[in-house]
């Protein structure tokens, strides 16, 4: 695994040599990142990407030299020529070249074998567990980022305005808002068409400071008046951030997922105070990552689409120097079986790798590729509990004590600056 601690780096005296040399390889830059301050917990942004259907982890982070892998997947196993090497005998599909570049630059990372004990193989239940981080709760009502958003809205105390200054979370997609961002108090804004978040001026604009009844009991009206003024400022910022004639604009692929990410970048660039964003790829229901049959081409295409869009998104944020404040994570309900089924597909498994992207990543690969001899539900066993990643994001990026959101203590991983 290609990681290097800051201490080792400094002890080796490489740091100054490399800096003086002008070119800083990605892995050294990541180690040097420890020298920087962490992205502020007051303005960091979390982007959740749901990959619905159960992404096949073994064909995403591929143990191409592993005999068990090759034997178990006679038509699906990727060969050395099909992958970009990542670690010894492990690589990512060549179609994911876009994010591999991010990996080189320190803005993309893979965490191996993420899951939880006694994993569910049911789409709905498994997705709910990932969304809520409450595998023991048979009746979860809120998602982990929804609960995080509840912490970010003003506390309901006397004297506080009941209207939040910023929209705490945004979800962009046509499907129903996932439980991930449902909070008890906070309201997630959903945009099926992201353009719906730009103000329609067909009939003019609301009049600021007008339309109130100027009566002592109209305190609510003044609050709303302030809120309308804030929303018009927000609309201006969104419009400015959406201008397509800016020099150096990043070109996104022409896919639906890429369009969603492009809009997310615009909203982030607009500095709206929103800290939590969510989008998805794969749709609702079982989702398009549910590759029970004829997986090879479909899955490759999905990963390519994902990778190209994410690479553009990261480049877009980097161009505006806001990538450092953003952390992207992906989740899917489960990985898939090690063994290929009779329909040239794979069935529901258990653990799988997840991706992190953004600024302040300490490592590009976290953990070891799972041992394919040790299986659970026909899939690989987890070595990292997904709630450790959530705890890390909560504490290192949102500044929220993770126990308050996860209702239990999980050791954060040393993956974020």
């Amino acid at each position: 695994m290609r990681t290097l601690s800051r201490r080792t780096l400094l002890q080796s005296g490489l740091a100054s040599a490399v800096v003086l040399g002008g070119h800083i390889p990605g892995f050294l830059r990541r180690a040097l990142a420890d020298e920087r301050l962490s992205p502020s917990i007051h303005d960091s942004i979390v982007v959740a990407i749901q990959l619905a259907g159960g992404n096949d982890g073994l064909n995403t982070v591929v143990p191409y030299e592993n005999d068990i892998y090759q034997r178990s997947r006679p038509t699906l196993a990727l060969k050395k020529k099909d992958v970009i090497p990542l670690q010894q005998g492990v690589g990512i599909p060549a179609r994911m070249k876009g994010v591999f570049d991010g990996l080189e630059q320190g803005s993309f990372a893979v965490i191996h074998a993420v899951g939880y004990s006694n994993p569910s193989g049911d789409h709905d239940r498994a997705m709910e567990i990932w969304q809520t981080a409450q595998p023991d709760n048979p009746h979860p009502e809120t998602g982990w980022l929804g609960r995080a958003a509840d912490h970010l809205v003003p506390s309901p105390k006397a004297g506080a305005s009941p209207i939040p200054a910023a929209s705490p979370s945004v979800f962009i997609s046509e499907i129903a808002t996932p439980l991930t961002v449902i909070g008890r108090a906070s309201v997630c804004v959903k945009a099926a068409d992201p353009a719906s978040l730009t103000l329609d001026a067909s009939f003019g604009f609301p009049a600021i400071g007008e339309g109130t009844s100027k009566f002592p009991s109209a305190a609510c009206e003044s609050l709303v008046s302030d809120a309308i003024a804030a929303s018009l400022r927000t609309a201006e910022r969104v419009a400015e951030a959406s201008r397509e004639d800016k020099p150096g604009n990043v070109s996104y692929p022409s896919t639906l997922f890429a369009r969603r990410l492009e809009w997310l970048a615009r909203l982030i660039r607009a500095e709206l105070g929103t800290r939590i964003f969510c989008t998805e790829m794969g749709g609702s229901g079982p989702g398009s990552f549910d590759t029970h049959s004829l997986q090879a081409n479909n899955h490759g295409e999905l990963l390519g689409e994902f990778s190209d869009a994410l690479a553009a998104f990261l480049a877009d944020l980097a161009r505006d120097r806001i990538l450092e404040r953003v952390i992207v994570y992906t989740y899917s309900e489960f990985g898939r079986t090690v063994r290929e089924n009779g329909r040239r597909g794979t069935d529901h498994g258990s653990a799988a790798p997840i991706f992190l992207a953004g600024g302040g990543l300490r490592q590009s690969v976290v953990g070891e590729h799972p041992d394919l001899r040790e299986m659970e539900n026909g899939g690989v066993k987890h070595t990292v509990d997904f709630r450790q990643i959530y705890a890390t994001i909560l504490e290192r990026r949102l500044g929220i004590p993770s126990q308050q959101v996860l209702s239990a203590s999980f050791e954060p991983l040393p993956i974020l600056v």
Binding site: A176, L197, F203, P206, S231
Partner: protein, 460 residues
């Protein structure tokens, strides 16, 4: 008795005075209602008044209007019969969005609006969600019961809901074995009917769950297994006996805390989003529930009271997305479409799915900047000509009111008798409307939009 009640927060507003100590303010108002009073009342019970209601109810006593609002007139029965085929078709084809649209139609068009909005109140009260129940026929059945009892017997209502199969599905407890009672059943009852917070549940959630053992939902039907019933003694709400599920609604209805909690929720629903008075202040409506067992009596007490018509209560409600859209469509007799309902869901308020068992979020949370942009955009779509959003709102208004449209709009959409400063753009549009011939609809649409997105229309 303070700690048990759930999270209905008192957010003291700037310039808000203290709550008066005297409960004399619950005396019925003896003043005939002005147009402004009628508008205030109708904003709270029907989202917004119609022109006919403003004309028809002015000069009457609040109590008399309450009776008119709750009367199941022949027109109401005709309305029911007219809409029933739509309801049945949606249920038969398990079309949840069509059902949502039908439900919104009722909210906007019903001749008995108080009953419709009280149905929404109970839906939120019990946290019943169409997605959680996941069986449209069962959901429809329990909603019908709630509508029937919305202003009825306070003792009968919990029984109609808690003993209904939809309740167990709503809390994901279709299987209730004696050896493994579903504690979420007890937790849901404590939260929704009694306002307990989780830390106050103690052993009661388990005891309540035991009472529901032996109840199984199989293919949408309730099956009771005598073998799985826990017939042992349980201690619930301070009483010990071999209680069974059928006893629980009665225990709740007789419990002073339940009545107090319900009165608080009614107060929040009808009076104020921002401040909550003490339980002592709310004891008169609570007593109506507990002693008279009448929801109608409690609601009538609130809506007819001097307190309700005082300035302290006016304009203290923030319109959530559904109330906003319903208000606009009811005032101007617009059409409800599937797309409108979908937009409301995107704005965070699915009319048939309270966010959690505690209901939808507090109203202020629907006013974040991006949510307000969506709201303004919805207003633009509703007043525009897009058939997906009904189209024709402005055209209908021009046809109905002609030259008098500006006055009719301010009458319906602002606060009568109180000078509302809409600004120079309004005056400009007014002049253009008076002078125009060809583009009258367009100018009317701009006028409606300007009022719809003004602060005064976001409050009730």
């Amino acid at each position: 008795m303070t700690s048990h009640c759930g999270e209905l927060h008192d957010r003291e507003m700037p310039h808000a005075g203290a709550f008066p100590a005297s409960s004399d303010l619950w005396q019925a108002s003896s003043h005939p209602m002005s147009r402004r009073d009628v508008a205030h009342l109708l904003r709270r019970v029907a989202a917004n008044p119609t022109a006919e209601e403003l004309d028809g109810f002015s000069g009457q006593l609040p109590d008399a209007v309450f009776l008119l609002l709750t009367e199941e007139s022949p027109r109401y029965h005709e309305f029911e019969a007219e809409l029933r085929p739509l309801e049945e078709a949606a249920v038969r084809s398990n079309a949840a969005n069509a059902y949502r649209t039908w439900f919104m139609w009722r909210l906007v068009l019903s001749p008995c609006p108080l009953r419709e909005w009280m149905t929404v109140f109970w839906l939120e009260y019990f946290g019943l969600g169409i997605e959680r129940v996941a069986d449209l026929a069962l959901f429809d059945d329990v909603v019908r019961s709630m509508r029937r009892l919305a202003l009825g017997d306070y003792h009968e209502l919990p029984a109609a809901v808690l003993l209904h199969p939809a309740f167990l599905l709503n809390v994901r407890a279709p299987l209730n074995y004696r050896s493994d009672p579903s504690e979420q059943v007890g937790a849901a009852i404590l939260r929704t009917c009694l306002g307990y917070r989780e830390q106050d549940f103690s052993a009661q959630a388990g005891e309540l769950a035991r009472a529901f053992s032996g109840r199984f939902i199989n293919r949408g039907r309730l099956r009771v297994s005598e073998f799985e019933r826990d017939t042992g003694e349980k201690t619930i709400l301070g009483r010990s006996k071999a209680f069974e599920a059928e006893d629980i609604p009665r225990l709740i209805a007789e419990d002073a805390r339940a009545a107090s909690w319900t009165a608080r929720r009614l107060y929040r629903w009808f009076c104020c989003d921002t401040r909550m008075p003490s339980e002592e202040f709310l004891s008169p409506p609570a007593e109506q529930l507990r002693q008279n067992g009448s929801v109608a009596a409690a609601v009538r007490l609130i809506l007819s009271s001097q307190w309700f018509f005082s300035e302290a209560v006016r304009r203290q409600k923030l319109r959530r997305p559904v109330e906003f859209a319903a208000a606009l469509l009811r005032a101007l007799k617009g059409r409800i479409t599937l797309r409108t309902v979908t937009e409301l869901t995107a704005m965070g308020q699915d009319i048939l799915q309270p966010t959690t068992l505690d209901g939808w979020s507090e109203a202020g949370n629907y006013f974040s900047p991006l949510a307000l942009i969506q709201r303004m955009n919805l207003a633009a779509k509703l007043v525009g000509t897009d058939e997906n959003f009904g189209g024709g709102l402005a055209r209908g208004a021009v046809e109905t009111w002609g030259d008098d449209l500006p006055n009719a709009l301010t009458d319906l959409m602002t606060d009568q008798a109180i000078p509302v400063e809409i600004g120079s753009r309004w005056e400009d549009l007014r002049a253009r409307y008076a002078a125009s011939s060809g583009d009258r609809e367009r100018v009317a649409a701009a006028m409606i939009y300007l009022l719809a997105v003004s602060p005064v229309f976001q409050t009730a």
